[in-house]
């Protein structure tokens, strides 16, 4: 049966059929027909204050649920404003669908008002994109967009729709099947390779599981846990993979990489086998590649064939859905018990002993002070209140690294951050999306004083919707991460990193109609955070921390991962003004 309806209505119908309950967007001239049908539809539209934040909010929604997040923008500037959020989703493999309006088909190519080549511009920002110029193509494009966004290696998909399509009248025929003959998704994993992997794992004396965002995307936490327990494997979770194995799990070491722990990085450098699960050997993890895990064989499982061998050639390549591959590995290892091997058992025991030793030698710094609030102290307090259960969305910078090091996550989809692109301004809008998706959850939005000032307009969205987000500003008065590099590698010549004139947080929050506060004494910290959490509505807590703390350990850019700088070379740096 088919029904006559407008293109705009058809679009809405497709979204409803995809189970969309919430769209983050911003209207404009060419999307008017769509906003008109939204007016009395059950799908909720959240008016953000800038399109970039619509894409970030859609990501926040997607990252905490695993469902496709949806954002919407008008043609021209609306669409170009989305691009950072799209690239961000591309690099972190987050499923979102962006709907943009386009000028009427007749006007395309005429430099019409608010015309931009959205299709061309977003080619490299998306997993795939569509330009819909005929009403009869609309339904298929929208459903294909959702399918592509969510399947295989997830990612952002954009559908650009001309105004005449939105306005046109046509017959809606429900789309029941999707045919993309060239879209190859490999899920099963090669049985022979999986066997070889099981073999290597059983023979390894110093194995290490390197687990990343793919574990979260695949919903493979349970399989991962069974896998590491069954084989008693030490495990690191990357920045994107935090929560994949609970931080409290005895097999969890910590995050590796540029600001990873000493133990995690030393484990890489000394292991004889890496079991890489849903990771891409990012340069922020490996450091100088030639010196990365020189003694290790590599088993690499990823759903994207192009990731395998892109950076490091594996000994056992497995293209597949890491959830299914792990399930098969678990089955194999449960069926085939290896003959007891004393030498191997002793080697494994020594390996674990070594890892514990590294942890003890150089634990992550949790420094506190009697007079000032240390950034690490703030993270420990957030961790205490969260207890591994709250959602924490982070912005980008030093605070992000300390949070990743020190806040525990008891399950996947609690830690939300911009990993691959490192987009400042991500934290607050991501929290908005997360809180809409999970109204039941305590959501901390942890931001730097720099990134927060990129997101201030979204306080309006928070206020309008009464979202009980706890916005915690780690205020060090600087673009801290850049300041750290200037201090360490540019003779402390602090150039364009000082952030003075930070607004009064209490007044700022009050201007939006909610509570805010600034603190700078360590003894105020616990109670101020507790007050923020108790508050039924939004809360803006501005925490002034010591300005010149550096994040350690640190692998300098281009350095080998085991050549970490573990602490300050001399007494804390002072600005050379």
């Amino acid at each position: 049966m088919s029904t006559l309806m407008s293109g705009a209505r058809m679009l809405l119908e497709c979204l409803a059929r995809e189970g969309v309950d919430c769209i983050f967007g911003y209207p404009g001239g060419v999307t008017l027909p769509f906003y008109d049908v939204l007016y009395d539809h059950h799908i909720r539209h959240v008016l953000v204050r800038h399109e970039e934040n619509a894409a970030f909010a859609a990501q926040g929604y997607a990252r905490v649920t695993g469902k496709v997040g949806v954002c919407c923008a008008t043609s021209g500037p609306g669409a170009t404003n989305l691009t950072t959020g799209l690239v961000d989703a591309l690099l972190d493999s987050i499923p979102i669908v962006a709907i943009t309006g386009q000028v009427p088909t007749k006007l395309i190519g005429s430099d019409a008002f608010q015309e931009a080549d959205t299709f061309g511009i977003t080619r490299s920002c998306t997993k795939h994109n569509f330009l819909v110029k005929r009403l009869e193509d609309l339904g298929a494009a929208v459903h294909e967009a959702f399918y592509i966004a969510a399947s295989g290696r997830p990612g952002p998909v954009l559908v650009d729709i001309t105004k005449d399509v939105l306005q046109g009248q046509g017959h809606y025929q429900p789309v029941t099947s999707i045919h993309l003959p060239g879209y190859k998704v490999f899920t099963e994993g090669h049985t022979g390779q999986i066997r070889r992997a099981a073999q290597l794992i059983q023979e390894s004396e110093r194995p290490l599981v390197y687990s990343g965002g793919g574990i979260i995307a695949a919903g493979a936490s349970a399989e991962l846990r069974e896998f590491v327990e069954r084989n008693d494997l030490p495990t690191v979770n990357t920045l994107m993979g935090l929560g994949g194995l609970p931080s409290e799990h005895p097999n969890f070491i910590s995050m590796p990489g540029m600001h990873g722990s000493y133990a995690a990085n030393m484990a890489f450098s000394n292991c004889d086998l890496i079991v890489a699960l849903g990771v891409r050997f990012d340069d922020r993890v490996t450091g100088r590649l030639a010196a990365f895990a020189p003694h290790a064989k590599v088993i690499h499982v990823d759903i994207d064939p192009a990731e395998i061998g892109k950076i490091r050639n594996p000994d056992v390549p497995i293209v597949g859905d890491v959830k299914r591959v792990l399930a098969k590995l678990n089955k194999l290892t449960s069926e085939e018990k290896p003959a007891p091997n004393e030498k191997l058992t002793a080697a494994r025991r020594a390996w674990w002993h070594q890892i514990r030793q590294w942890k003890l030698e150089h634990p992550l710094q949790v420094s506190t002070s009697d007079t000032e609030i240390k950034p690490q102290h703030l993270m420990s307090e957030i961790d205490r209140l969260s207890g591994g259960r709250a959602i924490v969305t982070s912005d980008v910078g030093q605070h992000q690294m300390w949070a990743a090091q020190l806040i525990r996550f008891g399950e996947p989809r609690l830690w939300v951050n911009s990993g691959g692109l490192g987009s400042m301004g991500f934290g607050l809008p991501a929290a908005i999306g997360a809180q809409f998706a999970r109204p039941d959850k305590l959501v901390f939005s942890l931001v730097g004083d720099g990134g927060f000032q990129m997101s201030i307009p979204e306080l309006g969205t928070v206020a309008s919707n009464g979202l009980p987000i706890k916005i915690i500003i780690m205020n060090n008065g600087y673009l801290g991460m850049v300041r750290q590099w200037q201090t360490l590698f540019y003779n402390n010549r602090l150039s364009a990193v000082e952030l003075d004139n930070f607004p009064d947080a209490e007044k700022l929050a009050a201007a939006y109609g909610f509570k805010g506060k600034t603190i700078d004494k360590p003894w105020e910290l616990a109670s101020a955070l507790e007050e923020a959490v108790r508050e039924p509505g939004p809360y803006l807590l501005n925490v002034k921390v010591t300005p010149f703390e550096n994040v350690y350990p640190m692998v300098p850019a281009g350095g080998a991962i085991n050549e970490m700088v573990l602490g300050p070379p001399q007494p804390a740096a002072v600005p050379a003004k």
Partner: protein, 183 residues
Amino acid sequence: MLQIISLLLENKPGALMRVTGLLTQRGYNIESLTVARTLDPELSRMTIVVDVDASQRQQVIKQANKLINVLQATDLTETPAVVRELVLVRIKMPQETRTTVLKEAEIFGGRVVDSSTEGFAIEVTGDPEKLDEFVDVMRSYGEIDVTRSGALAIALDSKKLRLQPPVLTSAGQASRPVPSETA
């Protein structure tokens, strides 16, 4: 090194842009690119020659295969394949060398497609390296203008084309009735 890639892709708007965009984005230099419809008008065949590090060859193919409109990406660099290119040369030379130029063209299997008192336009097809030689020879006789088509290639053994079957969408089985907006 030069890598020869044959792509079979859906003839959809933007498909060419996706391929060229991908190659530039990933830092591969395009030496030449040809594209035209296949027997099936919905599909195009593209031959691309890229200059890449030998270690990156597999990566180029994998990245191309990830494009949703690409049905098949094949590396023809080391597999049995025929590679051909067309060159059009316009040459101006003195009267007394006309017959020598014609003879030389013949050696390369060239065909004169236009002739005037000033000179010729000559067409040659062949292996791209042979064409380089032809162009060098012509240059020694006079003033030349050259247009080349870029390499075209076909594999000698056909590789099985694996296409994805249609998938059912849950969206199609939505429980809610379709509301009608207009009468």
